[in-house]
């Protein structure tokens, strides 16, 4: 029998829905995702580590569980909120339901709430913390405890530890090895690795905390600072190591979290976006060519346009809110983008960014 489950937000709003997925309670930052397809990516994206994700599209789980479409090896999010999950999915590759997946991954699910109302609250108030439990009172307790704990750990243990890998891993290039690339894993997705290896790059993934020297000693042709879920300002250690990677003069490409980290390493300031960019439909304008691309995002922060990093100019901007979406450095062979230049299995329309990275590496050789 379905049991009631409550969501309580920081501002006191309460939503009553029904429970699915794993047993238990959950607390985290509540964010919404506007993609109409791609829930498997969302569920396994390290970018959502620790967060409670609300899907704005009401019908979730329609094509079931397709392991091949996961972009991380597990579910990173804390809890999952949908209006309706599909009990009888339909796709020839489906191996189960979203419910079964959440159960297996230990992720709490809430469904049958007015997800649009929740989204509008998050839009108006900005991202908030929230908690799920079987009574509003209990959810309050969980939320209070979470906020306290969150405050307590602020500035301490690196949260990136939650999503990064434990050991160095080398993935061979598909076909002939044209380049050897080091990827700093702050919550890197399978898709990024796949796109690199398909371009003939041998990829070595390093845990986030790896000292710059340990990376540089492998003498990669280039370094990629990957995407990741957290506030890059939180971890001074990571910024410091990133600075040392910059000093090496190796070609560098930053993506999402990596973009912000690189900018911080070069003295930029950051701003927190009110409710973040999470979805598949944000228009970003490539300023040199005046072309607009539709790109995937999963980010809650951006580089402050008034405090760009040293010797850098903006290459991309968000067409809607004009936030900085890409940077090109003039004194080092480095560039970065806020969005994720990969979309599922389709060819990426922003694949030219990888061409640019390749060119840097070729020039450096």
């Amino acid at each position: 029998m379905e049991r009631d489950l409550y969501l309580v937000l920081e501002n006191g709003e309460v939503f009553r829905g029904k429970r699915f997925g794993a047993e238990g309670e959950a607390a985290g930052e509540v964010v919404f995702h506007t993609g109409m397809v791609g829930y498997l990516e969302t569920l396994t994206d390290p970018g959502y580590c620790g967060q409670i994700v609300v899907q704005t599209f009401p019908l979730i789980g329609n094509y079931g569980l397709i392991p091949d479409e996961q972009i991380g090896d597990r579910a990173y999010l804390k809890a999952y909120i949908v209006r309706e999950w599909c009990q009888s999915p339909s796709n020839y590759r489906s191996e189960g339901t979203v419910d079964a997946f959440l159960k297996q991954q230990g992720v709490v699910g809430l469904y049958d709430i007015d997800t649009r109302e929740l989204t509008r609250i998050l839009r108006e108030n900005g991202t908030m913390k929230g908690a799920l439990a079987e009574s509003p009172e209990r959810a309050h307790e969980v939320l209070t405890a979470f906020i306290k704990e969150d405050k307590a750990t602020e500035g301490h243990a690196s949260k990136v530890e939650l999503v990064t890998r434990r050991e160095v891993l080398t993935v061979p290039a598909k076909g002939e090895t044209r380049f050897r690339v080091a990827v700093m894993d702050y919550g890197c997705t399978r898709n990024l690795v796949r796109m690199l290896t398909e371009r003939g790059m041998e990829v070595t993934l390093f845990p986030a905390g790896t000292a710059a020297l340990d990376v540089l000693v492998t003498d990669p042709d280039g370094i990629i600072l990957s995407n990741g879920p957290f506030d890059p300002e939180e971890d001074a250690e990571l910024i410091f190591e990133a600075q040392r990677l910059v000093y090496s003069g190796k070609p560098l490409m930053g993506v999402d979290f990596g973009h912000l980290l690189l900018a911080l390493a070069r003295g930029a300031r950051m701003t927190k976006l009110k409710h973040g960019h999470r979805g598949a439909n944000q228009p970003v304008k490539h300023l040199p060519s005046d072309r607009v691309y539709i790109a995937s995002h999963a980010q809650g922060y951006a580089v402050d346009a008034d405090f760009l990093p040293m010797n850098a100019w903006a290459t991309f901007e968000n067409l809607n809110d004009k936030t900085v979406e890409g940077l090109q450095y003039t004194d080092i062979p480095a560039f970065s983008v806020q969005f994720i230049p990969e979309d599922g299995r389709g060819k990426s329309t922003t694949g030219f960014l990888f061409d640019q990275f390749e060119k840097f590496m070729k020039d450096a050789q």
């Binding site: 506007t34 704005t56 094509y63 007015d114 072309r291 539709i294 809607n320 329309t349």
Partner: protein, 1066 residues
Amino acid sequence: MPRNKDLKKVMVIGSGPIVIGQAAEFDYAGTQACRALQEEGLEVVLINSNPATIMTDEAMADHIYIEPLTLETVKRIIEKERPDSILSTLGGQTGLTLSMQLAREGFLESHGVKLLGAKPETIDKAEDRQSFKDTMESIHQPCIPSKVVTTLEDGLAYAEEIGYPVIIRPAFTLGGTGGGICHNVEEMKEICANGLRLSPITQVLVEKCISGWKEIEFEVIRDAKGNSITVCSMENVDPVGVHTGDSIVLAPAVTLSHDEYQMLRTAALDIVEALGVEGGCNVQFALYPESREYAVIEVNPRVSRSSALASKATGYPIAKVATKIAIGYTLDEIRNAVTGTTYACFEPTIDYAVVKLPKWPFDKFVYAKRTLGTQMKATGEVMAIGTSFEQAMMKAVRGAEIGLDTMNLPKLAELSDEKLIARMEDCDDERIFIIYEALKRGVSVERVHEITMIDEWFLYKFLNLIDYERRLQAEPMTEELYHEGKKLGYPDKAIARLSSKSLPRHENAVFKMVDTCAAEYAAQTPYFYSTYDEENEAEEFIRNRHDSKPTVIVFGSGPIRIGQGIEFDYASVHCVWALKKAGFQVVIVNNNPETVSTDFDTADRLYFEPLTPEDVMNIIRVEKPYGVVVAFGGQTAIKLTKFLDEQGVRILGTQADSIDAAEDRERFDALLEKLKIKRPQGHTVFTTEEALRAAHDLDFPVLMRPSYVLGGQNMIIAFSDEDIVEYMQIILSHNIENPVLIDKYYMGTEIEVDAICDGEDILIPGIMEHIERAGVHSGDSIAVYPAWNLSDNLRNKIVNHSRKLALALKTMGLVNIQYVVFENEVYVIEVNPRSSRTIPYISKVSGVPMVDLATRCMLGEKLSNMGYGTGLYRRPKYMCVKVPVFSFEKLIDLDVQLGPEMKSTGEVLGIGRTLEEALYKGLVAAGYKMKKSGGIFITVRDQDKGEIAEIAEKYYQMGFRLYATRGTAELLEDEGMPVMVVPKIYKNAKYNSMTLVESGEINYIISSSKKGRLPQRDSVKIRRKAVEHAIPCLTSLDTANALADSLMSHYSQENTELVELKDMKD
């Protein structure tokens, strides 16, 4: 890129008359285009032969020509107006084809006209079979494998290569005769050989059969800089094999995984890039359900029905954006009108499900073949928005006005399981209900999927509904159970009926906003749909507006069907405008995605909802209107009157009681008696016996119809007992509970009046006279305005009758009255105290803004203060002829003989100084080739024989060769005309009326028969054959006579006057 500053004067070509496959969506697109151009300060020249459109309204363009959409006419208008550019992609296939012809001939270049919207290269790449294939190959996009072969051996070899099943399509056979699907070598040997034999050039196309694959569409927009986005994905519930216009469609696509979705999305963007489209484009894919294999089915590099649907489904105005792109803007420069803060260069994301359900004409065309296939048959569609598929589907079904409020089609209960499953094999308009019934009886999802290839996802959703209906019967009624039903989309009535229990409470719906962005940005667009949730955004929206103006709700006309077309959308939109001008906040409710009324910026607020009592009450509860308007939304809105009246809702204009008085036969008869106005005598009957008795009492011929009709639904003229028995059988089998009306039928001149009444006086902008005598439905007759051969005496009588009727019925607003003049006596046929089909064209040609004045009357203003006078309005200096247009080639087995049952789907207008000129232009606009020589085949029923000789003589004098069946031939020979006698079909296999029609020697056919209707009858077969061969088939002697007169006149496409709409006023 900013706007191209060289552009000053742009010509827009409309899509012409409404036909199946090209309907109101192009009025919506064209209207958006004209507005977008005017917004930019451009001078707009518009040509469209369809007078019922909003785009041909005075305010929409600077120069409006309601002229035939032919190459000659368009050229002459270009020479006259000298536009610097022409917009090709907003007028459907008609507009596109004309533009391309003009471009290819070099006409545009030589006249310094720039082609906007689509380049000929793009169109070639998209429309030319080979060039499309080559283009797709060059960008590695798979097409459906196919090959032209001329021998069976080659056919077999190719089929082996691509694998069975394959489709054989013989070249140059009409309607694909002789083709078929082959599943193996044996079938291939038979069908391919047969196809080769039937093809006049011994050639067939062997194509891989992909029926059963998923059909997925993408709407894409690209600008000149190469920015491109997908607006919306759509998934057809019916897999490949059923025309997308006849498919139930869900937006967005749901059964595609992210990989599959991105694969097709990327393909769509690549295709649009390769074609170099600048504007909107529709790309259709077939996706094999069990692999990543797919094929590009079709690409339409212009706005389309699908783009209208995508616009309404997402809130993204594709036609408007496409127009801005055509004049030079790029996507990153165009604002998203919905949010006002973001740009058109983004991909809309939605947080609801959208279902489109087609509306088919089979309720009227009892004998037409209902099977759905590659030829579209729907006349219109409804769209429904819900937070679940179930809810949207249920809304669509009850909004389609097919007598259902759930998925249960009662008559299917009688079918045996075997029959039910057998019927599932053929796809027709009822298949979705058959599937539902089968699932209800326990047929497994797998089995249904196997037979229909409909994705299991949809079938499981139907099971959810079935499961709920079962629980309604089995479980006690609780608030929880009731609420669940509301969420699934069940109206209160249905829950009560299915559960046989009283409801625990009534839950009001709440409204959510359609905002293109799933609430990510605050939107300003007042576009709402209902669901059952907590938060009510409409209420919040109204509250925040702080608008003290009173609110009026206008109810629209629902899906387009025969008899209730775009004319009612025209009236609804004009009513909205008039109310706004009068200082009201105006709300529109409608569920037709093709229309201007459902554009989010037509009214102050739009509710995309079914027009049923419970649905509209939900809106009334939130809007708390001062009053509501039902008079402009056709029968759809009128049907709500009684209910709204009972609910105490103020109805503006004519009251429920008056509508009832006009529709209730006894009350109406009593009224006529009182007013001393005559009508054909009649009786009301319920059984066949009563019907026979009544007919004998009145004398044949008699007119039969069910009471409460629209568009002559199920109406016939009976000449014999046999006709009566057949008709009553059909009616009784439809479980129609209302009585059947039998009237004396007078073969006189039919007169139609549209008037405006303020309760004290009336204004008649015009009296129309029909070319065809009464008996041909007014919607199917050629109507002439002003009436050209009424005596002053009769005219006065008609004006007086009209005034008396309008006042006696307490009409406030529009009233449409039909008369028949027989032996110098005026009889009333019917009075409709509401807007009619003829309002748009009469408004345009008379210069009297009828809907505007009628709306003001409803609000209490007096005609005498409006500046147009009262009584009969002054005679215009032009004659106008409205010619109906049919979609017969799309409706197999439908008898084309005109009768009291309306069959036309659209209309065109001819305007001229004389009746002959107007008629000539009208006929040309309707598609008549106006050939002045060749053969004419005449075969008429006995009652027509008295007059046929005189008409035949005219054709004979012009030099036509006469052919006729024996009876008719003897008659003509007696009059001294040489005639070739043609044997009936069964008499001679080699040479008969059928082979004659096929021979190509015939340019016109005059055919009438006493019976018709049944597709097996020879006369019907001949007429169908004529349709296949595109030979004009005249089934009324009056039409034949008028055509002859027009052919004999000296008019040609070179010498008619080009009439600008505003010229008609002075």
